[in-house]
């Protein structure tokens, strides 16, 4: 009997420490792997396309300003496209992790919760009623739309209650359906709007110019910084509101900050790349499965894996349908939707 008293606590602690170490180890390994993946995919993204280039040519073109065919393709088409995908992916990955932490809902995703649809309405209103034609102009409207949608869904479904997954998802689906139809009515009514909107709407990185990434970059950075600021508070909130408060966290402020960060990140990603669903869901799921739900230590990993996943979707989309292209948003959905289905079915058993 005394044996038990002296032996059990250390074993439990040791187990905890071992598990913690294992999680740290996995975090490091996964982060390194994602860095490698991002680099490899970046090279692939610069090389692959309707005119394939050898990696050597890509690198030669990158580091010279010779304006031969390869140089033009790399500098004017593939570099902007790749940068936009990396940026949007990083934002969506972090937003997904944040969203799941705030709502405590393993199915939360910017696309599923109506944020994309809100941003889409913002963009289409900007084009149709304000004659805005550039991404730097869209971004404000996308913000307004994304923020309103996020607030509406949150207000409707009251996130944070454990187990209430259906309400949140339903509210998101309902809002998406409603706003999506509004967008289609506006684009049906006006052919010019339809033309401009079409290229934005498919979640494709085709025809993104270099300015786009530059224009939304400040917003993305602001969102990431805000995420770093509130991450500690979010992790403390997981211990419960009272404990978090006693540790010096203001729950209300943290949630508001997280909401602002999610909005900044989603709006930046969406205004640059169009609506991309499921990236946030997939990233958050991978991160939670392998290294746990700790927000602070997984932000970098989330950003990297979001970027890698989005770029991979884009590259795969360019390869599988030569000579045509399949939009990155569709490729991501082919991975994300079955994952969602699996999560739903598995949670039941």
């Amino acid at each position: 009997m005394p044996d038990l008293a002296t032996v059990t606590p250390p074993t439990a602690v040791t187990r905890l420490v071992t598990r913690h170490r294992a999680a740290r180890m996995r975090l490091v390994i996964l982060t390194v792997a994602m860095v490698v993946a991002v680099i490899v995919l970046t090279v692939a993204s610069l090389a692959v396309g309707s005119r394939a280039l050898a990696p050597a040519d890509v690198i030669a073109a990158l580091f010279s300003d010779r304006r031969d065919a390869a140089g033009v393709i790399v500098h004017e088409l593939r570099v902007p496209r790749t940068l936009t995908a990396l940026l949007a992916g990083a934002c969506l990955g972090v937003a997904g992790v944040l969203m799941q932490a705030v709502t405590r809902n393993p199915l939360a995703d910017p696309g599923l919760l109506g944020v994309n649809a809100g941003a889409a309405v913002g963009v289409v209103v900007a084009i149709a009623f304000f004659g805005v034609g550039t991404a730097s102009g869209y971004v404000w409207f996308a913000f307004a739309g994304a923020a309103s949608a996020a607030l509406l869904v949150n207000a409707a479904a009251r996130p944070g209650r454990r187990g209430d997954t259906v309400g949140l998802i339903l509210a998101g689906v309902a809002l998406s359906a409603c706003l999506g139809a509004v967008v289609r009515i506006i684009t049906l009514a006006d052919d010019d709007t339809f033309e401009s909107f079409r290229f934005w709407a498919v979640g494709s990185f085709e025809r993104r110019d270099a300015d786009v990434a530059a224009q939304v970059l400040p917003f993305a950075i602001a969102g990431l910084i805000l995420t770093l600021v509130i991450a500690r508070g979010l992790d403390q909130l997981r211990l419960g509101t009272d404990l978090a408060r006693s540790l010096g966290t203001s729950p209300a402020l943290t949630i508001v900050g997280a909401g602002a960060a999610i909005t900044l990140l989603c709006a930046a990603a969406t205004s640059a790349a169009g609506p991309l669903a499921f990236i946030g869901l997939i990233v958050a799921h991978i991160v939670r499965r392998t290294v746990g739900g700790d927000v602070r230590s997984t932000i970098v990993l989330a950003a990297l894996s979001g970027a890698a996943l989005t770029l991979a979707s884009d590259v795969i989309g360019r390869v599988i349908a030569i000579p045509g292209e399949v939009e990155a948003g569709i490729v991501a959905a082919f991975v994300g939707a079955p994952l969602l289905l699996w999560l739903v079915v598995r949670r039941a058993s």
């Binding site: 259906v166 309902a174 139809a181």
Partner: protein, 338 residues
Amino acid sequence: MIAASHPPSRTLPRRRRRATLVVGVTIAIAVLAAIAGLTTGSFHTSLSDVASALMGTADGPTTVVVMGMRVPRMLAALAIGAALGLAGAVFQTLARNPLASPDIIGFSAGSATGALVGLTLIAPTASPAAGAWIGGILTVVVVMAIARSVGVSRERTILAGIALSTLLAAVNDYLLTRAPIEIARNADQWLHGSLVATTLSDVALLVGALGVLGFILVLVHRDFRTLELGDDTARSLGVRIGHLRLLLIVVAALLTGTATAVAGPIGFIALAAPQLARRTMGTSGIPLWGSAVTGATVLLVADVIAQRALAPLQIPVGLLTAVVGGAYLFWIVARTRR
């Protein structure tokens, strides 16, 4: 004795009176909407023009507009609305959940996938109907299989349907990007859900299907009502639940499938009509025929608004029902979570 027997004998007729009143008002609204739909538009026709067109004594253009376009469209709206209302009532009663409508559980997305596969891969010139039927029914089978494997946990079934819908939506997007542009445009048109191109033969198909399937519902109506009392009670009353459920699912799927085949996916009627009917009529269960009448009226009104609101632009009615229905669903979710 008197105290026990009195209340039911008084409330039952009162309820019935209320239901009759509501159905009467609903039909009146439908008649007004029908008159508006038949008489307004870019080609002006007065009520007497419409009447003479119906009698077959009007001049050529009037006859073409009224009999060739507006009357079939009106009848199709009524029939499709009724079919969707009925299907929604059956699904919602079966699942005992107001959210279990065919569009939420993936039926519409599946129908669209079936139609798109047919249009883009198999027979570009054929009607999308057969594909829509097959796709929709396959989707329902998959959702039901998932529902069975996850246990009869209703919320999970709905989530599974939503997940399947998003998956199928991705497939649909993919098919649209791979199709030649003229086929893609056709298919896209169909995907919006529109009554613009309905003809009298479509109406005949719809009425035929409504007649046969409605008759089946009449035959099993008594057993259908016992399902509301719970499976055990129904079983103890001698209802063969397994067979009944299967039959009802097939009937509801065929109703939705036929409607979808003619007009494309029209969302949210099946979701909203049964609930509207139940609330206005004050019944405890979901009224079958009330849902049909409500669905018919709602879709007719929606279609008239869709035609005239932004004229000369014709909004596909499916988009209009999606705007209103999405907002309605959102409101329901917000309200019930308070």
